[in-house]
């Protein structure tokens, strides 16, 4: 069956040619000027899918757990795996030949744009820009075929998955056509809305110098003209700071500085703005509904690149977090700015604030003074938590941006191979753990000191060097127990810290060994990646993104540690308050919330709002139900076996023994010091690039994340096997005669 058509040959059936292609066909018929265009029908997608195992692999990927249980990180991970399936699957010879012949006949080696053209069933959910992918400035038959595959894969992109839940991800209903157009590199490009999505009496023209990719992905701020819709006359013109523009370069599209004469001049004259607005209104007449029209200007001529119905209110209701999620996907330029902000402003400010708070002697404060201090710390904590969500979480997207580039370049068997290139960097938590180990070694060499600790706790030690080391550690990194959970006093935690230190001593050799192998592999992967990038003329971008991704990886740990120090200061004040209330015999003082502590400190007659019992009823109910094998994500390669230690409180953390498997809801910032002692890590929170997974990978520890209800289905003392290759956790004893790779019997 034929798959590739000229625009003049296609029908209006959007199920076969997709919305974009059929719209372009109608525009061509109406006499608008368009770039030369080919359409690859959904039949091609179907042929590609049916001849391979991709179909079931996608289904397996999307059914690992209930879709509604998947966090956005996991959706991204799934989408990356699916994208890699498309990258690695060769197109059938017949199909490739038909598309190649049409490309060569019609475009003769010109630079092209490869765009998605989703069928109408998708239109309701996906008609706004950027849900599926488009690629600009692609040259040569092979690269174009590769990008056709990427457009097909974008049917299963994270963005698309989020918005296609309405379709229940029905495989049978999912298909994708592709539009291939000649790249018309106009001097000015833009988007025109025949109706303003936020005001029906208006229309909008947005224009930038160069290609409009800069406008679409937000890297270049456009000039904006607001129109009276009825009269098609200019109402207002907003002028941005014109600094950059997008231009094709080699096989790429890059952001470049704008020459001064252009930065002072609007990209369109008022007459030109009116001309393109009127054109959009004519296009609206063709389709009978308001349109969002993408165009580019060459000389005095406007080429129409695509047109689609205007959609309003993309974010849906307030509980719909998809809009927020999509805002996490930042451009490289945006991330670079964010990096400077985090590195030069946020981190130093957070460290300074934590250090200043640490100087305050809480015990010397009056009750009222302590209440004030607690209120202050609560606010400081909330402030930084908000910044964490606003800036730190989006910055993690740097890893993802690089991951895509790496996979496009190298097409690796393992879609997460790129993480190897990011790992083995000096993370704050690794430095902290090294410092702990140093103290451990000191204690280990002194049996007297060990006896003293065992007999009287760390508080009663008069070994000056030991005390100096401990103080030094705490002043540099804080007390990781204090602040992790609010159920322990920070004083008790000192003994617990020492118990961890004792176990940590002598843990260094395995780590070193595993790192030597890792380094060699990392260097090899990096050199292959950069070599291929160089051949494609994209080395500078590759290096830039690699650097950004490494920073993003490192910050994923550092931001958690620094935020942990702020939280520690908050908990210290909270603990001091609880202690004072305990002395006053206030009921349940040890578990009061910050608000209750605050009020009770200043008002002796304050009636407590009542504390909730923390015990989970779920465990009782489950006496007859038991998990045997649980599915998660393979977030840290390796396989290991050990007794589970479920972390519900700091006490559980303190009881952690070397060789146990860490089971938790989420690896909290201040929990990472325990990871080097663990045989494996199991986490409810899912994702390949989340903090816990990064730490586990750094230490070469098997890790499975995204196990629903991990901390309730697995109990402390259960024997568990963590399969970090497949993302499977097996609960219960295995026959000891079965040997697992890398696990001692």
């Amino acid at each position: 069956m034929r798959t590739t058509y000229l625009l003049s040959e296609i029908s209006q059936d959007s199920k076969i040619f997709g919305g974009k292609a059929t719209a372009l066909m109608r525009l061509q018929e109406a006499g608008f000027r368009l770039p030369a265009t080919l359409c690859i029908s959904t039949e091609a997608y179907k042929q590609f899918i049916s001849g391979s195992s991709i179909k079931e692999k996608i289904q397996l990927e999307l059914h690992r757990k209930k879709f509604s249980d998947m966090r956005w990180e996991e959706i991204w991970d799934a989408a990356l795996r699916i994208r890699n399936l498309f990258l690695r699957q060769r197109m059938q010879v017949e199909l490739a030949r038909e598309i190649s012949n049409a490309l060569e006949k019609n475009f003769a080696g010109n630079s092209l744009v490869v765009r998605s053209s989703a069928p109408e069933e998708d239109a309701a959910a996906t008609s706004f820009a950027g849900l599926h992918e488009s690629f600009v400035n692609i040259r040569g038959t092979e690269p174009i075929l590769e990008h056709v595959k990427l457009v097909w894969a974008s049917l299963w992109s994270d963005r698309a998955l989020l918005y296609r839940q309405e379709l229940d991800l029905d495989f049978a209903k999912s298909s994708m056509a592709v539009v291939v157009q000649e790249l018309v590199a106009g001097e000015v490009s833009g988007v025109t809305f025949s109706i303003n999505p936020t005001d029906a009496t208006e229309g909008v023209v947005e224009a930038v110098y160069g290609l409009n990719q800069g406008l679409v992905d937000g890297a270049v701020e456009p000039d904006r003209w607001i129109f009276h819709r009825k009269e098609a006359s200019i109402k207002e013109h907003y002028t941005p700071q014109r600094e950059k523009f997008m231009a094709p370069q080699g096989d790429d599209v890059i952001l470049t500085g704008l020459p001064e004469n252009k930065s002072l001049q609007a990209p369109l004259s008022p007459e030109e703005a009116v001309a393109i607005y009127r054109k959009a209104k004519k296009i609206e007449n063709v389709f009978g509904k308001p349109q969002d029209v993408e165009w580019t200007k060459v000389g005095n001529d406007f080429f129409i690149l695509q047109s689609r119905p205007v959609t309003a209110g993309q974010d849906g209701d307030k509980d719909d977090k998809r809009g927020w999620y999509l805002s996490l996907q930042r451009s490289e330029d945006n991330l670079k700015k964010l990096r400077i902000k985090i590195e030069q402003e946020h981190f130093p400010a957070m460290k300074k604030e934590a250090a200043e708070l640490a100087k305050i002697d809480l015990r010397s404060l009056s009750d009222k003074g302590l209440a004030g201090e607690l209120e202050n710390r609560l606010q400081v904590k909330e402030k930084w938590t908000a910044i964490y969500w606003e800036d730190f979480i989006p910055f993690a997207h740097g890893m993802r941006l690089f991951g895509k580039l790496y996979n496009d370049t190298v097409s690796p068997e393992d879609p997460f191979e790129f993480v190897e290139l990011l790992s083995n960097v000096p993370l704050l938590s690794k430095n902290r753990n090294k410092a702990l180990r140093k103290i451990g070694t000191y204690v280990q060499q002194r049996p007297d000191l060990q006896h003293a600790i065992a007999a009287g706790g760390a508080g009663a030690i008069n070994d000056a060097e030991f005390n100096r080391l401990m103080e030094g550690f705490i002043s540099l990194y804080g007390d990781p127990f204090c602040g992790t959970y609010g159920d322990r006093t920070c004083n008790v935690s000192r003994d617990e810290l020492v118990s961890v230190i004792m176990q940590m001593a002598g843990n260094s050799t395995t780590e070193k060994k595993s790192q030597i192998g890792k380094e060699a592999n990392k260097a090899e992967l990096e050199s292959t990646f950069l070599k291929i990038s160089k051949e494609g003329g994209k080395r500078a971008r590759a290096e830039g993104l690699l650097d950004l991704a490494r920073t993003s990886y490192r910050f994923r740990d550092d931001d958690n540690i620094v935020l942990g120090r702020i939280e520690e200061q908050f908990f210290r004040a909270l603990e001091e308050g609880r202690q004072r209330l305990k002395k006053r015999h206030v009921d349940g003082a040890a578990h009061l919330t910050a608000r209750d502590v605050l009020r009770s400190l200043v008002d002796k007659r304050y009636k407590l709002s009542g504390t909730k019992a923390k015990e989970t009823p779920a465990k009782q109910e489950n006496q007859h139900i038991k998990a045997r094998q649980l599915l998660g994500q393979p977030a840290g390669p390796g396989i290991s076996r050990g007794r589970a230690r479920v972390i519900d409180s700091a006490r559980d953390l303190a009881l952690f023994k070397k060789g146990e498997v860490l089971v938790c809801d989420a690896v909290e910032p201040n929990m990472t010091f325990i990871v080097p002692l663990a045989a494996g890590v199991i986490e409810r929170r899912g994702g390949m690039l989340i903090h816990g997974a990064i730490i586990a990978r750094e230490y070469g520890i098997a890790c499975v994340t995204g196990v629903p209800n991990a901390a309730t289905l697995i109990h402390t003392g259960d024997e568990v096997t963590v399969d970090g290759y497949l993302g499977i956790v097996t609960v219960g004893q295995l026959d000891k005669t079965i040997s697992l790779p890398g696990v001692g019997k």
């Binding site: 195992s53 179909k55 079931e56 289904q59 397996l60 999307l62 059914h63 690992r64 757990k65 779920a618 109910e621 489950n622 007859h624 139900i625 038991k626 998990a627 045997r628 094998q629 649980l630 599915l631 629903p708 209800n709 309730t712 289905l713 497949l726 499977i728």
Partner: protein, 159 residues
């Protein structure tokens, strides 16, 4: 899945949707022996019943060793089974071999599911077998396994 009721419901639905099960028995010989049987399960999931001619190998095996295992699944023999199919493995022991049709309630449960087996069940050469279930192991999503324990394994019925 942390909810016992939900797990029970999923297992009950699977048992109700399927007419046939694979039964594994073991004789004094070395090999386990698998056969296809028409079964029915009680609503509380405590019992599974089936019928068999007394001259069969499975009947002989049960007489020798009452411990059995069953597999019930909803596969369709398509690639989609890998993400879509569910299977439950059952462990239990035959608690009674009813040869005098005294288990009327269970027999009518069986016949309401398999009305075409009425003559077969009434035949003097047929035995009606009642299995007391110890545990279910439900496999879904390709690799997720949840256990539902009905009886303690130490409560092996005397037979």
């Amino acid at each position: 899945m942390t909810d016992k009721k939900q797990l029970q419901r999923e297992i009950a639905e699977l048992l109700l949707s399927q007419k046939l099960a694979v039964l594994a028995t073991q004789s004094s010989e070395v090999f386990p022996y698998a056969s296809l049987i028409a079964f029915a399960a009680t609503d509380d999931l405590h019992k599974i019943v089936f019928s068999t001619p007394k001259a069969t190998r499975k009947f002989a095996n049960i007489k020798h060793n009452p411990k059995v295992s069953l597999l019930i699944d909803d596969r369709s023999n398509n690639a989609k089974d890998f993400h879509d199919a569910k299977a439950v493995t059952v462990l239990g022991a035959v608690e009674r071999i009813d040869i005098d049709a005294s288990q009327k309630e269970l027999a009518s449960l069986y016949l309401s599911k398999h009305p075409y087996l009425e003559d077969f069940l009434r035949s003097p050469s047929t035995a009606f077998i009642i299995i007391s279930v110890w545990s279910y192991y439900l496999v879904s999503r390709f690799q997720e396994v949840m256990e539902l324990h009905i009886h303690d394994e130490n409560d092996i019925p005397a037979f």
